[in-house]
Symmetry: C2
């Protein structure tokens, strides 16, 4: 059982920043990654649509005989993690809880900012998770819809990303936060720009690393951790455009991506 792969999915390529952390924290695990590139972005879509897509991604990964699933997408986690955990028996981990825990540990003045897609921010998922741990913390959300296309265009460190960040984040600066959660898996690539706009008094929280650690804990608890694996296998599946996935994705993963296959995801 512990030799089975882990399944990881995202609406597209952003989840590769989470995959990267999982590879580092759990170097003995085989992993199957699915990116729903035919239906990206999930951010602006309704809860019903995101939940349907999330279930289809999980149904597909289950055909790959996986032992656990990571929803490496803030929108899908925010909209559908709980419904998915109710529906399926396999352990399912999202990215929101880990980010929320870290933000609570980091903030001193109990004022936390969260940036993400419209779907993530409107769901108030981070606010809810943070409130469960410490109800005295004030969480302020701000959607930043242009960040994803800016990153995918390769304009992460340009005057345009800086101006967009200034427009989006000036509100949050005025709110005197001291921690800011990067609530979208694309945003770690904008870390420098966001940090420049927010200044050194605000700590940026990247949920990807914490999610990988959470996954390790769950696998240990369930006796599913793989001890040894000299040659871990990574398989990639996408619902559209494998060439583009490879080209943009290698910048996210910081390593080569091979073994990319096409999936007709609407059939699952």
């Amino acid at each position: 059982m512990e030799n089975k792969p882990i399944g990881v999915f995202d609406s597209g390529i952003g989840g590769l920043t989470v995959l990267k952390e999982i590879m580092e924290v759990l170097p003995n695990e085989d992993i199957v990654y699915f990116g729903d590139t035919a239906r990206v972005p999930y951010g602006p879509r309704s809860k019903e649509t995101v939940t349907k897509y999330t279930f289809q991604c999980i149904n597909f990964l289950l055909t790959k005989n996986i032992k656990a699933i990571v929803i490496a997408c803030n929108t899908a986690t925010a909209r559908s993690l709980k419904l998915a955990q109710e529906k399926y028996d396999v352990p399912i981990i999202g990215v929101v809880e880990a980010g929320a825990k870290t933000a609570v540990n980091v903030t001193k003045n109990k004022r936390v900012g969260v940036i993400g897609t419209e779907g993530t921010i409107n769901s108030k998922a981070y606010e809810t998770e943070i409130g469960k741990i410490d109800s005295n913390i004030n969480t302020i959300g701000k959607p930043c819809p242009l960040f994803v296309p800016i990153v995918e265009e390769g304009w992460a460190d340009t005057d345009i990303s800086y101006m967009a960040a200034s427009r989006y984040l000036n509100d949050l600066k005025d709110k005197n936060i001291d921690a800011l959660v990067l609530g979208c898996t694309h945003y770690p690539l904008l870390m420098n720009t966001i940090s420049k706009v927010m200044g050194s008094s605000v700590t940026l929280v990247n949920p990807a690393r914490e999610t990988a650690k959470d996954l390790k804990n769950v696998l240990m608890k369930e006796n599913l951790l793989r001890d040894q694996n000299d040659n871990p296998k990574y398989e990639y599946y996408v619902s559209d455009g494998p060439d583009k996935f490879k080209q943009i994705g290698e910048n996210f993963l910081k390593k080569e991506i091979d073994n990319i296959n096409l999936v007709e995801i609407h059939k699952y």
Copy 2:
């Protein structure tokens, strides 16, 4: 037969700039508009996926008993118009041919630029159409992926849109073009910004108006033109997020949008 409505579809809300022109040129026609907002954007998707989506949009409109179809989306026209015309009996009109004709009429130095999504530019659809009319014209394409999210964010006339336009268009300026086709239905909302960057020596071509005139000609030729209609009916269908469609769409259409219904488009 001539009292049946016209069907118009787009990957989302951009097609409303075409609908606006059709309403003005053909004020007696009833119209059914479908926006595939659950699967927008079509621009970066593969030819196979765009064709599948296009056929589903047409299948849906056919259930509304329409007399003609306008593909008010440059990507879908560029990728799939010919396949659709082969497959279906109803008259189907795209936006590319009309834009190409106008560009040929406008250019004096026979150097035409085309901007659009990756899908439209990679298809070389405008280049092919323009080449059919005048093979001496040099057509230079440039994809501008960030323009659509900038427009949808409501940042059409800002420093950010100007900087993005400068980045994308400086290449084209160096190529000494004298006509520039706005090969994406969102781009008319960036007319001022694009015009400022390109300068007064370059004429901007908006295919929407010409498409509406083409449609009128086709309806006349096929005896499908409606002469009188005191109270034309406009019905709107979307595959996701009717509220957001209304909110952003009214800025495109410059009039109120009511009567918006949800469609499960993947079933068609």
